[in-house]
């Protein structure tokens, strides 16, 4: 270890640099003082970043309850009364309800499809030896590092030729296809860690391969499916680039597109309060879900990167 090369203990010089901690017993008084200074500094920086993250969100929530005049006049003042009609205007007139519905349909369909198809492919790649296994695996992995925009130019015409441009099911199929690389990568690793004995026992008892998969292996893979499911849910719910290219019909817009569209059109109509209500409306469910399922979300999002 490199740590053994570090210089000998720093002699205690009262009142010297902040970045010296005395962990060894001997000078409790000085140690405490230094620790306090450092603690104030490090805590200060952490608090500042927490404010920088929280403040824009608080500002957005505040703004969503104001009327247009006070949004422009005094951006940081508290709303003088809660204008709930901003929210109802955004929900009905600005079509936020439609955007929510479209997003739920698209993400619901894609999420189920991604998990089913992804786990099928991953299971076969993880557990069966056959010629081309590695090739197919790396073909999937390669999809993670290619710039999607390059494929989107011809993809637009592929989807158009199939008559699926501006349709919900077309968007679902594309979402699934672009979610597969990470899903297959993650679940292949996960299936490899599961014990083989249970599946073999099921097979000996006369279960077919697919029955073994659906009734034995999938339930065992539940923790992995939850992690990758959360990862895909957030990715698909927040997706912006794919629908911007493939889903240009305003009636079929998903939430992210709808909001951007709203921002452009409100520039002419001047209904900024309605727009902020829409923004906050889109933010809050995800934030609430995150706070409730905090542990699972963090695990799901970081699991892949830590492998």
């Amino acid at each position: 270890m490199k740590t053994t090369e570090t210089p000998a203990p720093v002699p205690a010089e009262p009142g010297t640099p902040v970045l010296k901690t005395r962990a060894a017993p001997g000078g409790p008084k000085e140690g405490k003082k230094e620790g306090t200074t450092l603690n104030v500094f490090s805590h200060g920086v952490l608090v500042i970043w927490a404010i920088m993250v929280g403040l824009p969100l608080v500002w957005a929530v505040m703004t969503s309850f104001k009327d247009d005049a006070s949004i422009f006049g005094s951006p940081w003042s508290l709303p003088d009364k809660l204008n709930f009609d901003n929210w109802s205007r955004a929900w009905s007139q600005a079509h936020m309800s439609d955007y929510f519905l479209n997003t739920i349909l698209v993400v619901g369909g894609s999420l189920v499809g991604t998990l089913v198809l992804g786990s099928m492919a991953a299971y076969v790649l993880a557990r069966f030896d056959f010629p081309g296994n590695r090739f197919i695996y790396y073909l999937f992995i390669a999809g993670m590092s290619f710039p999607i925009m390059l494929a989107l130019v011809p993809l637009f015409y592929v989807v158009d030729n199939m008559g699926m441009l501006n349709t919900i099911h077309g968007l679902i199929l594309v979402y699934i296809a672009y979610s597969l690389p990470f899903t297959v990568f993650f679940l292949t690793g996960f299936f490899r860690t599961l014990p083989t004995s249970v599946a073999e026992a099921a097979f000996v008892d006369g279960a077919s391969h697919s029955r073994t998969f659906f009734q034995v292996m999938l339930p065992m893979a539940k923790p992995g499916l939850i992690s990758v499911g959360i990862f895909n849910f957030l990715g698909q719910w927040n997706q912006y680039m794919l629908p911007t290219v493939l889903n240009t019909d305003p009636d079929k817009h998903v939430l992210t597109q709808g909001l951007v569209q709203l921002a452009v059109s409100q520039g002419y109509k001047g209904d900024w309060s309605g727009l902020f209500a829409g923004l906050v409306m889109a933010m809050l469910p995800v934030l609430a879900a995150y706070i409730i399922f905090q542990r699972q979300v963090v695990q799901g999002l970081t699991a892949g990167a830590l492998k």
Binding site: A23, M149, L306
Partner: protein, 308 residues
């Protein structure tokens, strides 16, 4: 387990692989082919033009600008993001003061709270974040300038996204803002798996916090940092920079092409200007940049793996 094995393999792989090949692999191959044609995207007719698109690209000033901005995105955004995240996560997990009777290595008080709050932007769509900051940057009524006025800095009222000299920095700052939290949580998980004895040994040897960080934490966390850099760089070259630039900047890509990036230029050439073939050419350049970036980071970052 041989019975019906191949039928099962084919049955399980056919749909996912077919979907993936049709919507992902096939368009990539087509793209490279189209970059040698004069296809407009508007009519089905086109002919081969050899390397014409490529030589046109090399003479295209806007292409060079977008390349330069994309490279800045891939290098600076991860550098700032990862440095901030390393600093925060070290403070959160190791920077705490020793409490009487407690373990030698602790995080600061409230570490759980920081991790939750820092992660907020990560669950929001980058599109929503971009919209929010577009308003915050508004020179007249935006949150930032009115905050500056509020603390008495009436003379400091930048145009932010309207100023060609700083617009790019404003956009990059938004990406940093939204991704630091993810890496704080990721590095925290990595730091939690470093055995406490190593820190205790370092402390007994008299190492201060900076030394502990550079000699213990960073080397043991290096693999995570490196893959984080690649991951962040690929995002900053692709989808994320597309969203922030396309939503936030005027034009988009302005003012005066000061914020345009390769991924946005591909989109504009293909879907705004009807030059699909030329768009795929820029896309191929983007692919080369992305792969070169990943290769360089993996190569430069290669170190002896430390076992612990």
């Amino acid at each position: 387990m041989q019975h019906g094995k191949y039928r099962f393999i084919v049955g399980f792989l056919a749909v996912p692989l077919g979907l993936y090949a049709l919507f992902v692999i096939w368009p990539f191959i087509q793209s490279i082919y189209y970059s040698f044609t004069d296809w407009t995207g508007l009519s089905p007719e086109f002919k081969m033009v050899g390397f014409d698109n490529y030589s046109r690209m090399l003479d295209d000033d806007i292409f060079w600008k977008s390349l330069q901005h994309s490279v800045m995105f891939a290098l600076l955004v991860p550098l700032v993001t990862l440095s901030l995240a390393l600093f925060f996560s070290f403070m959160i997990n190791v920077g705490g003061r020793r409490r009487r009777g407690g373990p030698a290595i602790t995080g600061v008080r409230g570490s759980g709270f920081y991790k939750i709050v820092y992660f907020f932007p990560q669950v929001l769509s980058i599109a929503i974040v971009a919209l929010l900051f577009q308003f915050a940057y508004n020179p007249d009524s935006g949150a930032i300038n009115s905050l500056l006025r509020g603390i008495g800095l009436d003379s400091v009222q930048p145009l932010w996204l309207g100023d060609p000299d700083i617009a790019l920095w404003c956009v990059m700052a938004v990406l940093v803002w939204s991704t630091v939290g993810f890496f704080v949580v990721l590095f925290s998980a990595g730091m939690a798996s470093i055995p406490a004895e190593l820190y205790e040994a370092a402390l007994l040897d008299g190492a201060n916090r900076a030394t502990t960080f550079f000699k213990v934490t960073l080397p043991l966390l290096w693999d995570t940092v490196q893959s984080g850099w690649v991951y962040m760089g690929i995002l900053a070259l692709g989808a994320e920079s597309f969203a922030v630039v396309q939503i936030m900047t005027t034009g988009p890509g302005g003012p005066d092409y000061s914020t345009t990036v390769m991924v946005l230029y591909v989109y504009q050439k293909a879907f705004r200007d009807g030059q699909a073939a030329y768009a795929t050419t820029i896309g191929v350049a983007l692919l080369v940049v992305t792969l070169a970036f990943a290769a360089v980071v993996m190569r430069l970052g290669r170190r002896e793996r430390l076992e612990y």
